[in-house]
């Protein structure tokens, strides 16, 4: 999965990641963000850019299998 998750020790509940994510990867519950759809993440790092506390962790290595197992 491309978005790894939220570090709740650091998160200050500002909601900026939820606000910016183009793929709506995050959800909100009781003022706290959670990862709603990890596979929807496109690794654009916009959430990391706006997160004030370094709590948004993203993995950039493409997680999905190659179509038809191709190796070009």
């Amino acid at each position: 999965m491309a978005v790894q998750g939220i570090d709740y020790e650091k998160c200050v509940d500002c909601g900026k990641c939820y606000d910016i994510c183009p793929d709506d990867v995050f959800g909100m519950f009781c003022g706290k963000v959670y990862v709603r759809d990890p596979m929807g993440c496109q690794s654009c790092a916009l959430c990391a850019m706006v997160c004030p506390s370094g709590a948004c962790h993203i993995n950039v290595v493409r997680p999905k299998p190659l179509p038809a197992g191709r190796r070009v």
Binding site: A2, D19, I20, C21, P22, D23, D24, R36, D37, M39, G40, C41, Q42, S43, C44, A45, L46, A48, M49, C51, G54, C56, H57, I58, V60, V61, R62, P63, K64, L66, P67, A68, R70, R71, V72
Partner: protein
């Protein structure tokens, strides 16, 4: 039928990237009631929001116009629309200045300047033109502020699914909010479609071709879908560019950053001649090889940059730099960044890019549907966008947004207001279509359909192809449609968004191959094994289609050459495809 929101206005801009953002500002400048409906957060979605620092090829007034014309026309394999290219060369700079002014108003800088105060421009290694740097993050931030402060009606997280037309004239548009399920009915005489292109990537992406599908359904002429260029990217590479796991995607390299091993030896000294000749893929191959052989890690080293370059790089690649700080706990400008390698062999992710067709427009940006204007990636590339010329895509998005936004403003007065009652009626079939999707409870998720479409299109499109392969691909895509569409399940409004995206991707994939199969020669990124020649005698044509009796009817159109003579030759097409 009850709609949660009914919004009336002069002009609806669909999409808020570089094209839509500027088009909307042009509407505000003219005192129009502008509505912006956008799938993501205002100005922070689509291709524009993930570019970071970018090359932008906008001709400057002092440049030689003939050189630009030749470069753009040649690199498009002569398929660029020369009228639009001329307009771009003459008027692109004015739109750039306009954007500079907007960003300055908000204390930002859309186009970085060097120490002497001039725009930061680089010579292009392949073409005799210059490329300048641009900072989409800053431009989008300024656009967002501008649109909010100046009272545009901003409808965020709203996916437009249908254009409402009557007798070839725009009346409005319909969509829904995928967070809340609320329905949105827009009643406007003019729509600026700036909702980007369609990309088939292994990781998801929010440009899925809905602008094409909805415009086609409404009767718009589509053009140049045969330009389905393909790319591969290293699997390790972050999609948006630099500074972590990825061979430098231009910018740091231009500025002087290097790859080194622990001893400080430059990677270029360790690379084979073949790797040296393979651009960023070669760099990635060398890094992977060194790491696999136990000689890693290889570091990306920006510490050697000048203080100005470091500042600039951090600004333009803010998202990636921030990510490196978070994941590695280091300062990417002051410490070397170790390149992670999780595979011991280099693997690639095929990546069919959005260098394909779009909605056809005239020289005022209007489609054959009156009131439907199209800008940026959503427009047909014959208008000079989306060909492999570094920087023209962003240049076109900004230029066309500003220029076509201006024409759209004039059309608001020409066409008068739209009628709410009529729009309600026109939206009914759209509502039923989405209700039907929401009633689908099959086992297949829309995401699985997207995957299947890519799995079917990409292998064919990455390889050199021939008629047989194309026919097989079409048959497979048709089978995917037949087997998977009835099995889809849509559980909530997020999945409804994905459903609309997946369906339009499937349709775009089919239109790409069905267009390509009609071009009996090799051109614009499509190299055919069975027709390897670029044939300027018989094939200086665009391929288009339009909906007729429920099916696409294909046609060709001759390309006019008023400003640059195209050699009437038939030559072996050698441009590499990948």
């Amino acid at each position: 039928m009850r709609f949660d929101h009914v919004v009336e206005g002069d002009m609806l801009v669909v999409g808020s990237g570089l094209a839509g953002g500027l088009a909307a500002i042009r509407g505000l400048d003219a005192g129009k009631k502008v509505i912006v409906a956008t799938k993501g957060k205002l100005c922070w979605s689509g291709a524009s929001a993930v570019v970071g620092g970018a090359a932008t090829a906008i001709p400057f007034p002092e440049d030689d116009k003939a050189v630009w014309m030749k470069a753009i026309v040649e690199v498009s394999d002569y398929t660029a629309d020369q009228e639009w290219v001329r307009d771009y060369i003459e008027n692109g700079y004015a739109q750039m200045e306009k954007i500079s002014e907007i960003t300055r108003r908000h204390g930002l800088e859309g186009f970085p300047r060097d120490a002497s105060g001039g725009y930061w421009r680089f010579s292009n290694p392949k073409y005799p033109v210059k490329t300048q740097l641009c900072s989409p993050y800053e431009i989008l931030e300024a656009f967002e502020k501008e649109l909010r402060q100046r009272g545009a009606v901003c409808c965020e997280r709203v996916m437009i699914t249908h254009l409402l037309t009557e007798e070839g004239q725009v009346k409005g548009a319909f969509g829904f909010s995928y967070r809340t399920g609320e329905s949105w009915l827009f009643c406007v005489p003019v729509v600026v479609m700036a909702a980007g292109g369609c990309t088939f990537k292994v990781d998801t992406y929010d440009n899925c071709g809905e602008p094409f599908a909805m415009a086609y359904e409404a009767g718009a002429k589509m053009m140049a879908f045969d330009r389905g260029g393909a790319l591969v990217r290293p699997r390790n590479a972050m999609r948006a560019g630099v500074l972590d796991n990825v061979p430098l995607a231009g910018l740091p390299q231009w500025l002087g950053a290097r790859f080194v091993n622990a001893e400080g030896t430059e990677l270029s000294e360790l690379m084979t001649p073949e790797e040296l000749n393979s651009g960023r893929l070669g760099v990635d191959a060398a890094i992977t090889r060194e790491v696999a052989a136990g000689r890693g890690p290889i570091y990306e080293d920006c510490t050697c940059l000048s203080p100005e370059s470091k500042k600039l790089l951090f600004r333009l690649k803010k998202a990636n730099c921030r990510r490196v700080q978070v994941e590695y706990g280091l300062d990417p400008m002051e410490e070397k960044i170790p390149m992670r390698r999780e595979q011991t062999e280099q693997t690639y992710v095929p990546d069919v890019c959005n260098r394909m067709g779009g909605i056809d427009i005239d020289i005022h940006g209007e489609s054959n549907i009156r009131g439907l204007f199209v800008a940026g990636d959503a427009s047909a590339p014959k208008a000079c966008a989306q060909h492999p010329f570094p920087g023209v895509e962003i240049g076109w998005a900004m230029f066309s947004g500003g220029r076509i936004g201006g024409y759209a403003v004039q059309a608001c007065d020409r066409y008068g207001a739209s009628d709410v009652k009529l729009c309600r009626k026109l939206a009914e079939p759209a509502v039923f279509e989405l209700i039907q999707a929401l009633n689908a409870h099959g086992p297949v998720t829309p995401d699985e359909l997207k995957e299947k479409v890519m799995e079917t299109l990409i292998p064919y499109n990455v390889n050199h192809c021939d008629e047989e392969a194309m026919k097989a691909c079409i048959a497979k895509l048709e089978k995917v449609a037949e087997e998977m569409l009835p099995e889809l399940g849509v559980r909530d409004f997020h999945e409804l968004r994905e459903y609309v995206e997946a369906k339009s991707m499937l349709w775009v994939a089919l239109m790409i191959v069905q267009s390509e199969i009609r071009r009996k020669e090799s051109r614009v990124g499509v190299h055919r094994r069975d027709y390897p020649m670029m044939d300027n005698v018989n094939w200086l044509k665009w391929i288009g289609f339009v909906k007729k009796d429920g099916r696409p009817e294909f046609f060709t159109e001759d390309i006019a050459t008023p400003y640059f003579d195209v050699p009437k030759t038939i030559t072996l097409q050698t441009r590499p495809r990948v």
